[in-house]
């Protein structure tokens, strides 16, 4: 930490002991000039119609979007998803207009989890569609992902990641 910086006092207050703003304070923030867009809204297809056996432990996944942030560390990110039916949709599209932070569940019937989430490395953030079967069900499951588009709104912070906003 540096001893250099600037403080702003609250009106009528003390800039040293109780600043209203201090440049010394670490805060969550985003680099506006990174060559890769560290913040954006992107709409892509929600994925393929993966078909899995519900009586077999099985997982299929595919990358829908890759952002090369090249920060050199795993960053803190905020990702939200909005699922909307595409022109070929024939389903009830019951997830329309839901806005989900961290992960968008397409289906979770207790035996199969069909969801869109994200994976982070020190150089990339990938949005991934996954269909995973626990092997405890019967019959087969086919993902309706190909009937949807997903709007991905993301912020990649210039802070070390600590919170994993995904759940399984």
């Amino acid at each position: 930490m540096t001893n250099y910086g600037m403080n702003f006092a609250p009106q009528g207050g003390n800039a040293i002991n109780a600043p209203t703003y201090s440049s010394l304070q670490e805060r969550l923030q985003i680099d506006l000039n990174n060559p890769a867009p560290l913040f954006d809204v992107v709409t892509v297809g929600a994925g393929s119609a993966f078909s899995v056996s519900q009586s077999t432990v099985q997982s299929d996944s595919e990358q829908l979007l890759v952002i090369n942030h090249n920060l050199g560390y795993i960053p803190q990110v905020y990702v939200t998803f909005l699922l909307t039916p595409n022109s070929g949709s024939s389903s009830g599209a019951n997830s329309v207009d839901t806005y989900s932070l961290g992960q968008m569940t397409i289906t979770n019937n207790g035996y199969v989890a069909d969801y869109i989430g994200f994976q982070l490395t020190t150089t990339t953030m990938a949005v991934v569609h996954t269909v995973a079967s626990s092997g405890e069900g019967t019959g087969s499951y086919t993902s309706p992902a190909n009937e949807y588009n997903v709007q991905i709104k993301y912020l990649i912070c210039n802070n070390l990641g600590i919170q994993t906003l995904s759940f399984n």
């Binding site: 250099y4 006092a9 609250p10 010394l24 304070q25 985003i30 506006l32 809204v41 210039n158």
Partner: protein, 277 residues
């Protein structure tokens, strides 16, 4: 609101006309500032108990004097005996962050070895805050600023402008902070026949749809057969048991897989760059 401070707008936008999303810094903003990052690395012995959690483990002492926003990551853990259904819950009071492990098997005890990183913010998340209304102007082509200020750290006497800002600068207007629009709490009171009573309902006044973060809030603490913590507590940010919708000045958050119940604290962020949903 203070009349003193500094504002820097994005390039091409007059600072006096700039909305919050068109500025890179306004020293009047309330941002998600980090109080400290704590590491916990220890070995503890935890009784096994079918009746609920049995003990709380102090992970760190933050001494904020209020219920803070915080998040965590479990870097690693191991158990001396294989069990099914281990659960790790995190709570904060005004002084400490606690880990409450629960192993759903009766009998003897288990040795838990765990490494956790906790980031505590300076934000009192259960207190109500509403940022001042920002002026709204017609859309301006937003470009990142080539002007601004940066402060280097003592660790790097001669950083280059192209260097990764993390660690090299304590302040840089190339970096735009996450700007808080609103904080508060909401208690779900699901009542038959009352629309939206099973939802978290957050009303906001802002020209764009804000991002949100949730945590659970326990005004009267928690209790089980073998553990009682009667002080007010909050869970970590990133509460994920919900799906929500955002738009037209209202956020509705429903349960995911089961109905919501209890109290929650929330943060709404102004989009740092004017993203629209």
């Amino acid at each position: 609101m203070d009349e003193y401070g500094a504002e820097i707008s994005q390039q091409g936008i007059p600072v006096k006309q700039a909305t919050d999303d068109q500025k890179v810094i306004d020293t009047r903003w309330v941002t998600l500032d980090v109080q400290n990052v704590y590491e916990y690395n220890s070995i503890v012995t935890v009784p096994l108990n079918d009746g609920g959690a049995t003990q709380s483990i102090v992970l760190c002492t933050h001494n904020s004097g209020f219920l803070p926003a915080y998040d965590y990551v479990i870097n690693s853990y191991s158990l001396s005996t294989h069990v099914i259904g281990e659960t790790f819950n995190f709570y904060a009071d005004a002084t400490n962050i606690y880990l409450v492990p629960f192993f759903e098997v009766g009998g003897s005890s288990i040795v838990l070895t765990i490494n956790v990183t906790i980031r505590v913010y300076t934000l009192p998340i259960t207190q109500s805050f509403q940022a001042p209304t920002v002026q709204s102007i017609s859309a301006v082509n937003e470009t990142n600023t080539g002007y601004g200020i940066e402060f280097v750290t003592e660790a790097n006497a001669s950083p280059q402008i192209s260097e990764d800002p993390v660690g090299e600068y304590s302040f840089s207007t190339r970096l735009k902070p996450l700007n808080i629009l609103q904080t508060g709490t909401y208690t779900v009171n699901d009542t038959a026949g009352v629309p939206n009573s099973g939802y978290i309902v957050i009303n906001y006044s802002y020209p764009q749809n804000p991002l949100y973060q949730l945590c659970q809030y326990y005004p009267s603490g928690i209790s089980s057969a073998a553990l009682s913590m009667t002080q007010a507590l909050v869970g970590p940010l990133g509460y994920q048991g919900a799906k929500g919708s955002v738009g037209n000045g209202t956020i509705l958050i429903a349960g995911s897989g089961s109905a919501l119940s209890g109290s929650f604290a929330y943060i709404l962020f102004k989009d740092p760059i004017g993203l629209t949903q």
